[in-house]
């Protein structure tokens, strides 16, 4: 027979399940849905906390793992194969600055026309919350690099962390470029007071930008009256990027269409990679983020830049992009799908 304690806990758990099963009212649901359809412009006051466009904010509990924070960069990079390549080939910098009791090291930097990748490690005082790094990048010509991707790994035991930050590269960047990286945000992963550096940490260094191969097929495929154009494809060692122009004007949608592709990219006879990466349209490259009102690239228009998770050292051969369907919110709380496929085949000599 269960003890009174067990029965009491059973009842408590049952009551908790009921009490915490908050059921949002239709009004509340509509409020959430509306925000998703009509995202608010970023506010300067909170922008720094939303700065990273891609954070997997992963707090790894690395029990028994090596305690050096340096080892945390690999798990931070592993989400995206291209970031592993960038880290492996990155310029070794090992520039360390201190913010209070935290040592913040810019270990490596890698650049190509598809992305600039920075690798940071942080060592914190024992018992403190790990923090992850957020940074701004400008070059000697005054061009800003927009952060759009990355990953974090933290070790609660050592208060160490590793962060990979990927930035969009402004047009025209090539050769060796002098960069200034400013770290003004050290984001704790626990609910503790801010440890943001004041003044901000500034790192200055030069990094060579590796080359990429670009083709401009401007190929249009129409399925059931819906035209889609592959404007260009750019392949570097860390990523393959391409631009798709999709005419959604004839489709029902809310005020701002959010179209998502069910699509793949394939190089030669290699494996298909599912695309889920929306990179930044060229028009926004280098602009202040406060100027970006879109929730996802292309949602307020039809032009979207996609980026594959990996690139190629030898881009020659045939690249096949297949868009199997488009999905979007119809503005009525529902989801709509238009089936393709739209198939693009691009040959790089």
């Amino acid at each position: 027979m269960p003890s009174a304690d067990v029965l009491a806990f059973d009842r408590l758990e049952s009551e908790l399940a009921r009490a915490l099963a908050w059921q949002p009212s239709p009004t509340v649901l509509e409020r959430i849905d509306r925000r998703m359809r009509e995202p608010r412009p970023r506010q300067p006051a909170i922008r720094r906390w939303r700065r990273p466009l891609v954070l997997l904010a992963a707090a790894f509990l690395l029990m028994g793992a090596a305690t050096a924070a340096l080892t945390l960069i690999q798990p931070a990079a592993h989400y995206i194969p291209g970031h592993v390549v960038a880290y492996d080939r990155g310029e070794k910098l090992d520039l360390t600055q201190r913010a209070g009791n935290y040592a913040v090291t810019l270990e490596r930097a890698y650049g190509d026309p598809n992305q600039l990748v920075l690798a940071f490690s942080v060592m914190g005082p024992s018992g403190a919350s790990p923090v992850v790094v957020r940074a701004k990048v400008v070059d000697a010509a005054g061009r800003s690099y927009l952060d759009f991707a990355g990953g974090d790994a933290t070790d609660l035991k050592t208060a160490g962390s590793g962060s990979i930050l990927a930035f969009d590269v402004p047009p025209g960047v090539q050769g060796t470029v002098n960069l200034t990286v400013t770290v003004d945000t050290l984001m704790p992963i626990e609910n503790v007071p801010s440890v943001d550096p004041n003044p901000a940490l500034v790192y200055r260094f030069a990094v060579p930008f590796h080359e990429a191969t670009t083709v401009t097929p401007n190929d249009t495929v129409t399925v059931d009256g819906h035209a889609m154009t592959l404007a260009w494809l750019r392949v570097s060692a860390t990523a393959a990027r391409f631009r798709l122009d999709t005419d959604l004007s004839a489709l029902p949608h809310g005020d701002r269409p959010v179209a998502l592709l069910d699509a793949t990219i394939r190089h030669g006879n290699g494996a298909e990679e599912t695309l889920s990466w929306n990179a930044l349209p060229p028009g926004w490259t280098g602009q202040p983020k406060s100027g970006i009102v879109a929730l996802v690239d292309g949602m307020d228009g039809s032009v979207v830049i996609y980026q594959a998770m990996s690139g190629s050292d030898d881009p020659s051969g045939t690249w096949t992009i297949i868009v199997r369907r488009l999905m979007w919110l119809d503005g009525q709380g529902g989801q709509k799908i238009v089936n393709g496929p739209w198939v693009f085949s691009v040959r790089i000599p």
Binding site: A8, F9, L12, E13, E15, L16, A17, R18, A19, L20, A21, W22, Q23, P24, S25, V28, L29, R31, I32, R35, M36, P39, I46, W49, R50, P52, L53, V54, L55, L56, A57, A58, A59, F60, L61, M63, Y79, I80, A149, G150, T154, L156, P188, I189, E190, N191, V258, L260, L261, D262, T274, S276, W277, N278, L295, V296, M327, W328, L329, Q335
Partner: protein, 190 residues
């Protein structure tokens, strides 16, 4: 492999198992993820916030951030813990901006779970629910998170551990201690 386990769970998921898994097919279908995770994310955030509106705003902010982060989402992993990790960060950021946080305002809790009992039972349940929510809200941050993720979002101890950065066994102990604290706090009120 975890990924394979996660996929199997998708096929056998029970209603309160609540862990949608974004397969390769749905990986680009953020909309599906949004629809499946929206309610548990709201419930978790509602347990951390003082009003429906604040929870709604944080829920939207969570999915905005998740959408931007979708590229780094590993489709072999369950989607809900991933989104809830983001939700937790969003809530922490918001708490840092709006400290201090006062006690739970249950006057805005009119959107509690539906109840088909009699009016009297509904009243008693509502009173008890409000009391429990206030007690949960008063728990230390990590304990409150664990309880909200367990009973609000329906995560397992292992999944909760992946959200709050603790091992499965540590999470189980954390929840157990939280239950003890809740019961003691409840008893002390009587």
């Amino acid at each position: 492999m975890d990924g394979e386990i996660a996929r199997a769970r998708m096929a056998t998921a029970e209603p309160n198992d609540g862990v949608p898994v974004a397969s390769t097919d749905t990986r680009s279908g953020f909309v599906l993820l949004y629809e499946e995770c929206r309610l548990p994310v709201y419930r978790y955030l509602r347990s951390r916030t003082r009003s429906d509106d604040e929870a709604a705003d944080l829920t939207a902010a969570t999915f905005e951030r998740a959408l931007r982060s979708f590229a780094s989402y590993d489709a072999r992993q369950p989607a809900l813990p991933w989104v809830l990790r983001i939700a937790r960060n969003v809530a922490i950021d918001a708490a840092r901006r709006h400290r201090p946080v006062s006690s739970l305002d249950d006057r805005s809790g009119a959107d509690g779970p539906p109840d088909s009992d009699s009016p009297e039972a509904q009243y008693l349940h509502a009173e008890r629910d409000a009391e429990l929510r206030a007690l949960v809200f008063a728990l230390p941050d990590v304990a409150r998170d664990a309880v909200a993720l367990r009973y609000g979002a329906g995560l397992s101890a292992r999944e909760i551990g992946s959200v709050i950065g603790k091992s499965e066994s540590a999470t189980q102990k954390l929840i157990q201690r939280a239950l003890v604290a809740l019961r003691e706090a409840h008893d002390a009120k009587r």
